[in-house]
Amino acid sequence: MRFERIGREPDYSRYMDLKEGWLDRRIFSDADIYEEELYRIFARSWLFVAHESQIPKAGDFLTTHMGEDAVIVARQADGSIRVMLNSCPHRGNKVCFADAGNTRRFVCNYHGWAFDTAGDLKGMHEEYCYDDGDIDFKNHGLKNVAKVSSYKGLVFATFNGDAPSLEAWLGDFRWYLDMILDNEEGGTEFIGGCIKSVMSANWKFGVENFIGDAYHAGWTHDSGCRSMNDGMPFPPIDMENSYHASVNGHGWEFGTEGVGDLVLLGRPKVMDYYNKIRPKMAERLGEMRSKIFGSVASASIFPNVSFLPGISTFRQWQPKGPMQFELKTWVIVNKNMPDDIKEEVTKGVMQTFGPGGTFEMDDGENWENCTTVNRGVVTRHERLHYRCGIGRQIEHDTLPGIVYRGQYNDANQRGFYQRWLDMMTHDDFSKMPTRPEPRLGNVAETRDLPGLFAL
């Protein structure tokens, strides 16, 4: 399925030169570019829509957005998950107004058209008004997305029938994802509820911050770090043993010291918990991944999901126009954690990265002003600098992806914008470059990988 806009084929490559390391500011505020992003990126990517734990039982549902398209995510009687437009095929009204719940039917308030949780049209108010041949029930259900798939608890959906499998989309990034999704038997779950907030900023500023911007942390968040840790500033970054890794626009920046993000969370009991399970984590994921987990780190999944492994905030940047996004925040925990540790993690996340969190409070204003100031008609023609660490690419035996040495780097940001450019310029998914060539191939389980990855 194609979602094309007619008559607009600009050359997006003129908006950036990632080998030189600069971006054109117009990609952060231009309305036409934003519309094109909705078509070419959000309508074609695999997008995060739910964690399996949010809708465990048949009839459980939640509502969210894929790009700016409102969707319902619903658990079926057979355990599968359907994702469908939250829009009645009759006049387009919303058929579900709740954030979440459990139901047998979604019924439109306008004319009573009723759909089951798979989206099939089951009936309507005063059905007799339709004569034979007026309506084909089979073809007037809630429009389902093209594909739905899960990776270790995270549910993704895409409107794009030509999209590769979710495993291929995530590619070697699964090696990194397993550090939060699979670091302990039992997997993960989300804590109940979702905190939503609004920022007058372009969605990409949130994603690029989490994908690689360790650099801002020690400055922007000096106050947050000191408040959570009895006045201690950020620990110095070990530029030799910290990295950026980029895979198809996804990115993870990380140290290997194992404790940095856990310290920032400010909950000693959580630190103790992870120290206790770390030997098992090393058996499960290899020593390298057990050392990365808990380090100062941040990550984003292309295009618009981010998280902090160790701090356990999980978030999505939902585009709401070129200069606004809605931030949805959850807390991700290991299912097998004792309740008191889950509570400690939840409190820690909300004290650091909730809207009233000691870290979160200093981020929004930066992103809002990056967006609004970049819009000035003269300002927008000035290039932005993305060259930090541009010469530090390495080949690493253990770490998959495009790897750069040194956590203070713009490498993952460049990788993100490279994928952005690839998607904005390639009509045909099969011709879109894979960056880098995958190591994992079709191996389903990163735990079962041969020696190279088990280090």
Binding site: A98, S197, V198, T220, D222, S223, Q351, P355, T358
Partner: protein, 183 residues
């Protein structure tokens, strides 16, 4: 109590005397003035050592949905804090590097609809109120946060200390980039 449209306001206990009601209303106004002027040191003095300060996140759910969004403390919350946790948040302001607080945010707290009633503990009082917390910052940043509160205040000598507060903000999507304000 799962109704998030408004907090339970029916009288559970006996209404406090005019004198006590007046004293507690004055306490709420004084607290609002301290928050307006960022006098967090004196505000912290008004908080009991066993404080629980709670502002749950409120999802939009159908009326038939019995999910307890208000009192279930395991769910996501803007605040679910003890006094030491509140002090931790406040300590950010003393670091000199809380960049988004400089220039200062301008606050006004408007506290209304004060009702005071007795509890089983002779020295503790249940206090209902509504808040309108307004903030304005830099040029045009403007937020209006409105909701209900239900507090327990404890008499200590001639003054009162906040023991419990549950504040229900009426937002589903917090219509702001952050929540650098206490209500």
């Amino acid at each position: 109590m799962t109704d998030t449209a408004t907090l339970e306001r029916t009288r559970q206990g006996t209404a406090a005397s005019l004198e006590l009601t007046h004293a507690l209303a004055q306490t709420l106004y004084r607290e609002a003035r301290l928050l307006d002027t960022e006098n967090y040191a004196d505000w912290a003095e008004m908080l009991a050592e066993d404080l629980h300060y709670h502002m749950p996140g409120i999802e939009t759910r159908y009326r038939r949905d019995k999910t307890d969004q208000v009192t279930d403390l395991t769910r996501m919350a803007y605040y679910n804090d003890s006094k030491p946790e509140i002090l931790k948040r406040l300590s950010r302001l003393e670091t000199g590097t809380a960049w988004s607080e400089d220039p200062a945010t301008r606050y006004t707290h408007i506290i209304t609809n004060v009702e005071v009633e007795l509890t089983e503990n002779a020295d503790e009082f249940r206090v209902y109120s509504n808040f309108y917390a307004y903030r304005n910052r830099n040029e045009r940043d403007e937020d209006s946060l409105i909701g209900n509160r239900i507090d327990i205040w404890r008499q200590v000598g001639n003054s009162f200390q906040l023991v419990k507060r549950r504040a229900i903000l009426k937002h589903n999507v917090l219509l702001s980039k952050n929540l650098n304000i206490y209500v």
